[in-house]
Amino acid sequence: MEPFTRHTGLVAPLDRSNVDTDAIIPKQFLKSVQRTGFGPYLFDEWRYLDRGEPGMDCTNRPRNPDFVLNQERYQGASVLLARENFGCGSSREHAPWALKDYGFRAIVAPSFADIFYSNCFKNGLLPVVLDGAVVDRLFQAAYATEGYQLTIDLFEQQVHTPDGECFGFEVDPFRKRMLLEGLDEIGVTLEEQSEAIQAYEQRRKQEAPWLFPEP
């Protein structure tokens, strides 16, 4: 996994609450058996005017000029500014895959849906929760200033604005460690916890043998 330490990038403001994972990556693209290649179809139904199908070449598809990611000033954005409950709905990890594949490294919002939030950390994508009033101000700043950038420092757990303002955010120590170092979480669990897992199983088989049917 690509580690995340500190990132500075152009901000794209997506001013909608309850953005669901069906909107982030529509269902027809979930038929892929790969982890990559979802970027061109990110927000497909909002971004394009025609009907997207898997495998389609998106270069010449008609674009919706009103959609934020189609506007010239937001090309190359790597920080997505969003509203409440971003990523609600389905557990599809294709949503963070698509955001990452498109080029986003961080998402700043007042709140995230739980499963989406957790999925981001597994993919080098940092979800940052800031107070609603702060997010409101960031929206205004992003609209007002072309080329508006934010710096997000995971180690310090801070978001820095170009005006020198700074906002702290919370992140679980375990997730922070995994993301800072870009660790393979399965490898870490197997290396550090295999014996504990086996001991648990031995004990549990005595207590609740019906949970361990023979193959």
Binding site: L30, E45, R92
Partner: protein, 466 residues
Amino acid sequence: MTGKTLYEKLWDSHVVTEYDDGSALLYIDRQLLHEVTSPQAFEGLRLAGRQPWRVAANLAVTDHNVPTTDRSQPVEDPVSRVQIETLDRNCAEFRVTEFGIRDPRQGIVHVVGPEQGTTLPGMTLVCGDSHTSTHGALGALAFGVGTSEVEHVLATQTLVQKKARTMLIRIDGQLGHGVTAKDIILAIIGRIGTAGGTGYALEYGGEAIRGLSMEGRMTICNMSIEAGARTGMVAVDDTTIDYIRGRPNAPAGAQWEQAVASWRNLVSDPDAEFDRVGEMHADEIEPQVTWGTSPEMVASVNRHVPDPAEESDAVRARAMTRALEYMGLEPGTALTDIPMDKIFIGSCTNARIEDLREAAAVVRGRRVAENIRQALVVPGSGVVKQQAEAEGLDRVFLEAGFEWREPGCSMCLGMNPDRLEPGERCASTSNRNFEGRQGQGGRTHLASPAMVAAAAIHGHFVDIRE
């Protein structure tokens, strides 16, 4: 010392290692797999040269992509076919038990698990699907995970999790005539909002919940995620135990007695403290219909489409305006005056035998309205389908003008050929009314099986109580 909530009991009995920051490595008893969120997880195992930690803890079934038409025919969509065959191949290679497309036990993963006794009280159960919360109806700790977590569970039988806060939602009193489990959960979501349960483990209790069948409880737990909660649960009682007895993978003989004795403890202690308690009286709950593009945009069937101009919160008013525009609705329209184009009775929320009985009771001896282009009934599993046919429900639906299909997720999310065309409006027993969910440009109104069946007959929603 205060007592424990059901969630705390389930959590505590699965902790392998506790970490300093309050998170823990939890043991996962069961994992259910389907074709959409598992291929990259199997590929991950393969690339790292890993094997499943305990292969017998997994059960796979194809459901999202499968056509609901003649199963003797090959899957026409080549992309769907590859995904279905990939699951078959992965299960064969890693020796995971799979109910393939022609297996009579095949069906929607959240219908199959409880039906087979694969889901049991006291378990931790995960699946790469947000509606895994369904299984909490059996007194299990069940939640949806992403593909990376699917791979983590395959490889280690554990997950690092942060303990959720607890919320009890108590529904006292008895439900009125024509009001069902689906109306309860839609009313709850309407009340607390689609993020109201974020960070919480929900427990549903009170007289109205206790009075529900297991099917009804599954409908409620299923849509916990639509209230933002990863997991929802109901305490074990006689209804739970009677439901499990005799199922293919349920314990038998002396182990059954031992298991039941242990399951009896799967209730929140009387003095347990929840972080939050929400109460509703069953009397307040009327048949519900959604009017917007989020499940919280819901109202009683006898109400009107709301006016964004009357909403004081600006972000919310914008969302409402957008939703009405997408839905092609004007504020003030009676919910019973909106003509439907399609009807969908199915999904992991409402495709169990009781749901089909409820819908068939409304449909019996009547005809689907002229303006309905298509009315689908998609049973939740092969077992449900067989049972329904044994009871003659298929004839009831067919004679009324419905199509009687093979089991799968179908038009709930339209990954298979069953979907809405742009602008089509559907009365649906499924769980999400998001933009494009049932097909690009499609418009979804969620309601109970009885309400959707009545909408098929009348061509629009009606108050089922009348």
